[in-house]
């Protein structure tokens, strides 16, 4: 099974690019399954289903969607097996961008919006720096100079990635992405692990505490001065 994981900033055009890419894959007789992970609500499964691909939606609700997709990987892969798909494409929402949902033997695709500014690649963290392919969208909305600078900033964060400039409206770049998905040699193993650890989040907030301020919180906490300490028993 080839496992394709698509992450990216909200509104960057992950679904739009994927839909164009799926159309091309289907034309080439590749029949992938699609799993969409979102938080509260998503219309995207309907858009995927229109293409005739098997699709499953996972809503993480009050859990982090990346954590949700990570511990549900078995179930997600099982779904694709049941559909006899050779390729499983998972699109995940992602919240704080301190996670990278990519596993060692998946093909990690990061979709990032060029209008988010050249500082953004430095801010977004491991889901960009660990990706195999970085898809830049909305490049038509900025000048050539900014496009070139944005590309350079991505390469500084992730020097080995393959960059595709895509357009979610016109479908530009989708044929290149389809080609790279189709030709990936990575095959998912029985014992997948993450390329990058998820952020530490062992604190009272994880257990539902709503009050703010230090006195209400226990666990592993980082102070404004950068020092980390364990508060509790």
């Amino acid at each position: 099974m080839k496992f394709i994981i698509v992450a990216g900033t909200p509104g960057a055009g992950k679904t739009a690019v994927l839909i164009h890419t799926l159309k091309i894959l289907l034309q080439q007789n590749v029949k992938p399954s699609v799993v969409k992970i979102d938080c509260l609500y998503s219309d995207d499964p309907k858009r995927f289903a229109k293409l005739g691909v098997p699709v499953q939606l996972g809503l993480s609700m009050d859990m982090c969607p990346d954590h949700f997709s990570i511990y549900n990987t078995d179930a997600i892969l099982e779904f694709a097996k049941e559909q006899n798909s050779e390729f499983l494409i998972m699109e995940t929402a992602g919240l704080c961008h301190r996670c990278a949902p990519y596993t060692d033997n998946s093909l990690g695709i990061c979709v990032i919006d060029a209008t988010s500014g050249p500082n953004n690649p430095m801010k977004v963290g491991p889901f960009l720096s660990c990706a195999d392919i970085v898809v830049i969208t909305k490049g038509d909305m900025i000048s050539q100079a900014e496009r070139e600078i944005f590309r350079e900033c991505i390469l500084e964060t992730n020097p080995n990635c393959s960059i595709i400039e895509a357009n979610g409206l016109s479908g530009q770049g989708a044929s290149e992405l389809a080609l790279q998905i189709k030709s990936t040699e990575k095959v998912v193993s029985e014992n997948e692990s993450l390329r990058h650890n998820a952020p530490f989040a062992v604190c009272t907030l994880c257990a539902g505490e709503k009050r703010v301020g230090a006195e209400h919180h226990r666990g592993l906490l980082r102070k404004m001065n950068g020092m980390q300490e364990y508060v509790g028993e």
């Binding site: 060029a114 209008t115 988010s116 500014g117 050249p118 500082n119 038509d140 909305m141 900025i142 000048s143 050539q144 100079a145 900014e146 070139e148 600078i149 590309r151 350079e152 960059i163 400039e165 357009n167 016109s170 479908g171 530009q172 770049g173 044929s175 290149e176």
Partner: protein, 267 residues
């Protein structure tokens, strides 16, 4: 690598109909206008050239360099890029000072000896209120942004193929800007709604519904008309500068303008 020719291989229009035109060859030193109603696909055509499209854009066109398919590096690596593009964008998204932006872009293009102050001073010849090196990009006005983009394209992106999208926009000095961007021995394509610019090009591509419909070569008469229109245009631009400077316009030399128009009528 020296570029002496690019080829535009026809693709499809917005309805999916094939553009019924033979391969369009554009040679070093030629200036082409691209004209057509808004939404007719002018910007897409130059975007295709900027990306050296290989049937992978909405139009399915293919662009060849010196008759051959360009390499992947030529298509994507800004250090090897052969194309400079002034797009229609009127604002910057990068939250940084002008000088930092220009330095960063020069680095991307692999240009070591760029004097940022010089680029800014060139931009300031095209706009009204001057741009300062420490200004943040995002606070620049539409005209200042355009002027800076022109100077950046002319100096930092300096390339053998130059694509210009509606230089007449945003109230910058279009003749000076065009002069800056053009140069000997370049391949230049100018998207324009301005008859003065369109008629001054050697040939023009007529766009309709997303497709290239026709190529027209400027006639001798059109070139003469273009020169006359240019004089009228220059006169109107002088008036524009006076109005902008808060001057009162006491008198317009209609005789001069009439002379031009009667000349046009004779044609």
């Amino acid at each position: 690598m020296e570029i002496h020719q690019i080829t535009i291989q026809a693709g499809i229009d917005k309805l999916g109909n094939t553009e019924r035109l033979p391969d369009l060859l554009i040679n070093k030193g030629e200036i082409y206008g691209i004209v057509g109603p808004t939404g007719s696909g002018k910007s897409q055509l130059i975007a295709d050239i900027e990306q050296l499209a290989q049937g992978d854009t909405a139009s399915k066109r293919r662009i060849l360099i010196n008759g051959a398919i360009p390499s992947r590096e030529l298509r994507s690596d800004p250090r090897k890029k052969m194309v400079a593009q002034l797009s229609q964008n009127m604002n910057f998204f990068a939250d940084m000072p002008v000088a930092d932006f220009l330095k960063l872009h020069a680095k991307c293009r692999g240009k070591k000896n760029i004097d940022v102050k010089h680029v800014i001073s060139i931009a300031n010849t095209l706009t009204g209120e001057p741009i300062n090196a420490n200004d943040n990009l995002t606070i620049l006005s539409g005209g200042q942004t355009r002027a800076l983009m022109v100077a950046d394209v002319a100096i930092i992106s300096e390339s053998p193929i130059v694509l210009i999208d509606e230089i007449e926009n945003a109230g910058i000095k279009k003749h000076e800007a065009l002069q800056l961007l053009s140069g000997e021995g370049k391949i230049i394509l100018v998207v324009t709604h301005d008859p003065v610019l369109a008629l001054s090009a050697q040939k023009r591509i007529i766009m309709k519904n997303g497709g290239m419909r026709n190529i027209i070569e400027s006639t001798y008469r059109e070139k003469q008309i273009s020169l006359q229109l240019n004089d009228i245009d220059q006169y109107i631009l002088t008036l524009r500068e006076d109005v902008r400077a808060g001057k009162k316009i006491e008198e317009v030399n209609f005789d001069a303008l009439l002379h031009e128009s009667s000349f046009l009528k004779c044609l």
